[in-house]
């Protein structure tokens, strides 16, 4: 719901809000420039003294104004010709033209009315209202995504456009909220919707009738410091009934031109003061620094507009049309989808198509539309649930748990829950777990136990599909392509073989970089930009399902490298490990921003076993800035599967690798990487306490063992792997 309040005003008002933001940012420069450029009055200078100086220079002076920047302007008539100038208060002489800056005037009119008069003002006010709605709904979304207000500035993960959007938003939102709210107030004031009209004192009915008091004898002007002056109007020459009119920060009054007496005075009203403060906050006139800050924040709007549209397009593209969706009352299988960004809908579409091909009648609906009373012919209910942020329900699953708990009893048709998530989050598939637990608590019969899909893995999904097919008694082959990637052809340059002696044949495969078109290079698409730790999807011959491997090289290494172990009966690993130089593979790149060492200089603790060394070796190879890296590497036997063993000494010599600790599992005394960590307890605790980042790559069992070991090691420091994960200092890439 909140997302809808963010998406639609954003898309509709995109152009308007962009014009507002850019013109506003440009305008924010002027008050600061005026503040710097305006000659300021010396402290304690009185209005009487200032007026005397100006009158000496310009005897026909009619009006003196002081702007919020301190700039003093005088207007006069001399010999029938009007004149005006910016005044240096120390001399009373004009120093610059007082004519309005034409660029500022043009920008102001664009900013407030698109040069379209009142209609334009209302359109721009609508733009400001959209900005306000976007700020408020965006704030709620950021808080929800981060997992609460306390985590407002937490580290972000996920695709770049979404991260950039939030990254800019969580700083700029304060300024945008202030600018848009004050804009609406100012529009209301312009259209007379607020009782903030200035109170003008009644014009004096009786004056002394004399003229010619010396400015120095006007007591009120003598008592008023220039800093409080806004405007001083002189009486018409020769008109004895006219008076001096004085406006200050306090109010407005009239002074007799014969006696200098104060004839009438009225203070500013409370509403007037509020409106003036709001005017200052919006324009920066009188608060130039704030104005500049707001201007810089406004510059984030076009970037947020562009990234916002990308996020929306990605979600739209990711949500396919379901063809042949059966009505809820007639379907045997009900497929409920809890998706935030839309990718889970893609899996639902694949499952729907496969089940339909197998002769099932299937109804797909969002989890938020859960209505068991309507599922008259349902035999099974399958729930595909992503997780939002820190374990919250994703957008299309809102209210599901409430509806479930409100049921008298669970539906009789059996349930299978499949969670979608990313293991690098501490709350991996938390919402799916909640759903499964709630179903169990209700006594809902189980078709399949809870299973999970890590990072949209097609392999995981195909494996779960076979289990589902078995449970349903049908042959189910789920070939899911999350997003049709553009594949490229890579040619093998060289291979190094290891592990045959320890029954784990493994190869380090090095491929050429595919040739990139200029456009792909500019946009950084595919293999024109990648880092170690990113993933390569290999399309094996004979299967439409790609297999993902972690990259052990970066673009600037000039080649694509992976470490592949041949699994018995493995289709893709079998093909890869029989390649000879000159052979080609079809592959695409998938970014993995959650598993990157980052630019920090903090020490890096890399922990890996077996082929998990791949991306870690890539990090070490790319460590040109000599960041202290501590590598813990578990292998079977140093003579057989010490991957990159040849390069390690050179890397250490060059300072790319500060320390290498190996653990050997075959031999008289089996030693695992966890044991190596335990042997370094004091050093590791110290490094992590001082801000080191931990990256783990390898099999699932090894990663769990490492997490347990680190929990022991960190216990005395009060830190846990979970806390480190939440801070983004503990990341895993497991398979």
């Amino acid at each position: 719901m909140i997302r809808a309040f963010h998406r639609w005003p954003g898309l509709f008002a995109l152009v308007l809000v962009t014009v507002l933001a850019l013109s506003g940012a440009a305008l924010s420069v002027f008050p600061a420039a005026e503040r710097l450029g305006a000659p300021q009055a010396e402290k304690g200078l009185s209005v009487a003294e200032l007026a005397t100086r100006i009158q000496a220079a310009y005897p026909g002076v009619e009006q003196i104004r002081r702007g919020p920047s301190g700039r003093i302007t005088a207007y006069w008539f001399d010999g029938g010709a009007p004149g005006s100038a910016v005044i240096d208060p120390t001399t009373g002489q004009g120093v610059a033209s007082a004519d309005p800056n034409q660029i500022e005037r043009w920008l102001t009119n664009l900013h407030r009315s698109l040069f379209l008069g009142d209609g334009g003002r209302i359109a721009m006010a609508a733009g400001a209202a959209a900005m306000l709605v976007l700020s408020l709904s965006g704030t709620a979304l950021v808080a929800r995504r981060a997992g609460g207000w306390r985590h407002w500035f937490t580290r972000l993960r996920g695709p770049l456009s979404g991260r950039l959007h939030v990254e800019i938003a969580r700083i700029a939102v304060f300024g945008l909220f202030l600018s848009s709210a004050t804009a609406l107030w100012m529009t209301a004031s312009t259209f007379d919707l607020l009782p903030d009209r200035g109170a003008t004192p009644a014009f004096p009915t009786a004056v002394s009738g004399e003229m010619g008091v010396a400015l120095a004898n006007l007591a009120v002007l003598g008592d008023t410091p220039v800093a409080e002056l806004r405007e001083l109007n002189f009486p018409y020459p020769g008109d004895a009934t006219d008076v001096f009119t004085l406006k200050t920060d306090q109010g407005t009054g009239y002074l007799d031109q014969g006696t200098g007496a104060l004839l009438n005075w009225s203070d500013l009203t409370g509403w007037e003061r509020v409106s003036e403060t709001i005017y200052m906050l919006h324009t920066g006139q009188g608060a130039a620094t704030l104005g500049l800050v707001l201007g810089i924040m406004a510059l984030g709007v076009p970037a947020m507009g562009a990234t916002g549209v990308l996020v929306w397009l990605a979600a739209r593209r990711g949500r396919p049309r379901i063809r042949g969706n059966q009505p809820a009352g007639q379907a045997e299988t009900i497929l409920l989808v809890g998706s935030e960004g839309g990718s889970t809908w893609g899996f639902a579409a694949t499952l729907h198509a496969a089940l339909t091909d197998a002769g099932q009648s299937v109804h797909v609906a969002p989890m938020s539309g859960f209505a068991p009373a309507r599922y008259a012919r349902a035999k099974q209910i399958i729930v595909l649930a992503a997780t939002y942020g820190d374990g919250a329900a994703p957008a299309s699953a809102k209210g599901f748990l409430d509806r479930l708990s409100a049921l008298d009893r669970a539906p009789s048709s059996a349930i299978a829950v499949l969670g979608f998530g990313d293991r690098s989050f501490s709350a991996y598939c938390a919402f799916a777990r909640d759903v499964a637990a709630a179903a169990k608590a209700k006594g809902w019969p189980e078709l399949l136990p809870l299973d999970t899909i890590d990072r949209q893995s097609p392999q995981d999904f195909a494996r779960w599909g076979r289990a589902l097919g078995e449970a349903l008694g049908i042959d189910l082959e789920l070939a899911h392509q999350p997003v049709l990637p553009t594949t490229e052809t890579l040619t093998l340059i060289s291979r190094r073989d290891y592990g045959a002696e320890v029954q784990a044949p493994t190869a380090i495969l090095r491929f050429t970089l595919p040739r990139a078109t200029i456009w792909r290079r500019l946009t950084g698409a595919g293999f024109s930009r990648f880092a170690a730790g990113d993933l390569i999807g290999i399309m094996p011959e004979g299967s439409p399902v790609p297999r993902l491997y972690s990259l052990a090289s970066a673009r600037r290494d000039g080649f694509v490298e992976i470490v592949v172990r041949k699994h018995p009966g493995g289709l893709c690993s079998g093909q890869l490990t029989t390649l000879v130089p000159g052979d080609t593979v079809t592959a695409f790149l998938r970014r993995n921003p959650g598993f990157q060492p980052g630019r920090s200089r903090a020490p890096l603790i890399l922990i890996g076993a077996g082929t998990g060394i791949g991306p870690l070796a890539g990090f070490v190879r790319g460590n040109a800035q000599r960041r202290p890296i501590h590598l813990y590497f578990g292998m079977r036997h140093p003579d057989s599967d010490f991957f990159y063993g040849e390069e390690m000494p050179a890397w250490q010599e060059e300072g790319r690798l500060a320390r290498l600790v190996t653990a050997v599992s075959r031999g008289a005394r089996p030693h695992y990487v966890q044991d190596a960590l335990r042997g370094d307890t004091a050093e590791l605790a110290r490094l992590i306490r001082d801000g080191a980042r931990v990256m783990v790559c390898g099999g699932r069992g090894m990663a769990a063992g490492v997490a347990d070991t680190l929990a022991e090691i960190l216990a005395p420091t009060g830190l846990t792997p979970a806390v480190l994960k939440a801070e983004g200092r503990y990341v895993e890439d497991v398979y």
């Binding site: 309005p100 005037r105 312009t190 259209f191 009119t245």
Partner: protein, 156 residues
């Protein structure tokens, strides 16, 4: 270019509804290129003693800015009834405001003076920008203003 049917102006005291001794008068105000936003203009008449007699036209729609038309505002207290039905848009720099009103014959050659107060955002307020006596001879004799008005004239 503004022109107005006399009927619209009948609400003011100066147009004396129903009395046959009134005639259509065209008032033409041309602004110079002063390099600012649209000007607010108040056209009004004072009697032989200099007392406010009534308003003829208000160019500018937002009453919150009327206080910058200093003399007019002082005379009327900003009373919206004074310009009810005789209000139009502000006049851009270099533009001409033309209005035609049925004015009572009694206003001419009787010591009445027509005034224009002008004001422009972020520029000087110019009360009494124009002050011309209403006389039969004065017709078709345009005069200049102090700051914003290049020429003002009336013709019968």
């Amino acid at each position: 270019m503004k022109s107005l049917l006399a009927a619209l102006a009948l609400t003011t005291a100066l147009t004396i509804p129903g009395i046959a001794t009134a005639r259509p008068v065209a008032l033409t105000t041309t602004l110079n290129n002063y390099g600012g936003d649209g000007a607010y203009l108040a056209l009004y008449v004072t009697d032989a003693d200099g007392a406010y007699a009534g308003s003829l036209w208000m160019a500018g729609g937002k009453s919150k800015y009327y206080e910058h038309l200093t003399d007019w505002y002082r005379a009327t207290g900003g009373d919206p009834a004074q310009i009810n039905g005789i209000t139009g848009a502000s006049v851009g720099a270099g533009r001409t405001l033309e209005i035609t009103l049925d004015l009572a014959d009694a206003l001419f050659d009787a010591g009445y003076t027509l005034h224009i107060d002008a004001a422009v955002e972020n520029m000087r307020d110019s009360p009494n920008e124009v002050a011309v006596p209403l006389t039969s001879e004065g017709a078709d004799n345009p005069v200049g203003g102090r700051r914003y008005v290049a020429s003002f004239g009336y013709s019968m």
